[in-house]
Subunit: 235 residues, 2 copies
DNA sequence: CCTAGCCAGTTTGGATCCAAACTGCAAGCG
DNA sequence: CGCTTGCAGTTTGGATCCAAACTGGCTAGG
């Protein structure tokens, strides 16, 4: 028997599902979340919905406007830049710590992520022009593969607060934004893959300083691209 | 009229009050939080209490054990070390960014913090041996002054996610732990003040690289001290 | 003597109910 | 003609209610 099993309640479940939907863009930024609707959709009463919304509020994903409901937080280009600034710093630290510490299993995961990114890019060439849904699927796969790559390094750093902090920052900028930048300029992918290759090289050598510098630059560049995309959108 | 005022509800209020009490140690680590008790204490029903607990759960301050209530999270020396590792990195970044950017107002705040730390240390010498309550008050003042110093630099970095992230990390390790280390070895204070002096010097010069290095080292050292204290406690 | 199972008491999780606050619109007033 | 004010409808915030799950102690059986 597990003595301290942190049983997850319906509220936790709802919070997680909503978080996924928001972060993946299925619930768009700025959308209003009505308690009654959510309760009906998930087949529960408003009580667990409210608790779930409180959790999302606490991690900054939604704003609760008193008596006016909750809305999904919007993100400006400026905020995006700032979030990636912090991420770059922390992922750089993670790279430095995980350099030379990757197990064979970790290394295999990195290779899988790279392979997924590469084959996804190849398949992109075969995509019919204007195939929006196909492109969307590819972008989702890219996003996941990319996330896998970054998370393996984070995990290898063996520092839970570091991993948790970066993940909460990842959630702060909905992945839907990353997708859009992919869809907007798919040539980001091969550049990203090349960056990753260099990072892996530094990680296994190991050259901790170089790994840090490279991952820092890579994340910073990703953030700058996303911010530029957001700026073009708003204009 | 403010069109989008994020009205704060009773749940927000409760969450904040509980957070303060936990972080300051008035509610000890590992304490069990019963909804009914909290409701009675704050004169509300259990509903807002539950929502507040959900928020604290989301930011990692408490664990909700299904049907068994919520308990204040415990922290090991290892976790403490890891949290300070991340803080050191981020505060170093904040120092680098805020170097040369301090307004006269910011600088004055830093001076106030330093003066508070210094006079508090002087008063410590006049303290009767065994005056536990007097020492506790001093430690609280030190803790606040120290926090002020660090927060001014964070604010001057003009990067909300950076500030928010560090603050959530500050909350991850209850200040009560920092107090205890102060109480345990008050000579930490003059060393800390000396560190601060050098940091301020680098900030106003400005020498961004040096400011980063110094603040990073300062936070890391603080964390190491806290972790050592925790280890002694557990043994 | 130790373990399994049962029962009462307690505490939480979720549903429902009611009052208060916000929204939008329309009518009244300057 | 524009601005304020009042009113109906909607939605949330908080309280209360009930069922389900956990805790601890006690008893019966091996």
């Amino acid at each position: 028997m597990t003595p301290h099993a942190p049983v997850l309640s319906r509220a936790d479940d709802l919070a997680h599902q909503l978080q996924v939907e928001i972060v993946t863009g299925r619930i768009p930024l700025g959308a209003r979340l009505r308690q009654e609707d959510l309760a009906a959709r998930f087949g529960v009463s408003r009580t667990p919905v409210r608790e779930a919304l409180r959790q999302l509020q606490a991690i900054g994903l939604v704003d609760q406007l008193g008596h006016r409901g909750a809305v999904v937080r919007q993100f400006s280009a400026e905020e995006c830049r700032n979030v990636y600034l912090v991420r770059a710093e922390l992922e750089g630290l993670a790279a430095e710590r995980s350099a030379g510490r990757l197990t064979g299993y970790d290394k295999a995961d990195l290779d899988v992520a790279q392979a997924l990114l590469r084959t996804g890019y190849e398949r992109h060439r075969l995509l019919a022009a204007g195939d929006e849904s196909g492109l969307a699927i590819l972008c989702e796969q890219w996003s996941q593969a990319n996330e896998l790559f970054h998370n393996v390094i984070l995990a290898a750093a063996s520092c839970p607060p570091l991993r948790d902090t970066v993940q909460s920052l990842q959630n702060a900028v909905p992945r839907s934004i990353a997708w859009r930048t992919f869809a907007d300029d798919p040539d980001i992918i091969p550049r990203s893959v090349a960056d990753h290759d260099r990072i892996v090289e530094a990680l296994v050598k190991p050259d901790a300083r170089r790994a840090r510098r490279l991952l820092h630059a890579h994340v910073a560049e990703t953030g700058a691209t996303a911010a530029r995309w957001l700026e073009r959108q708003s204009s």
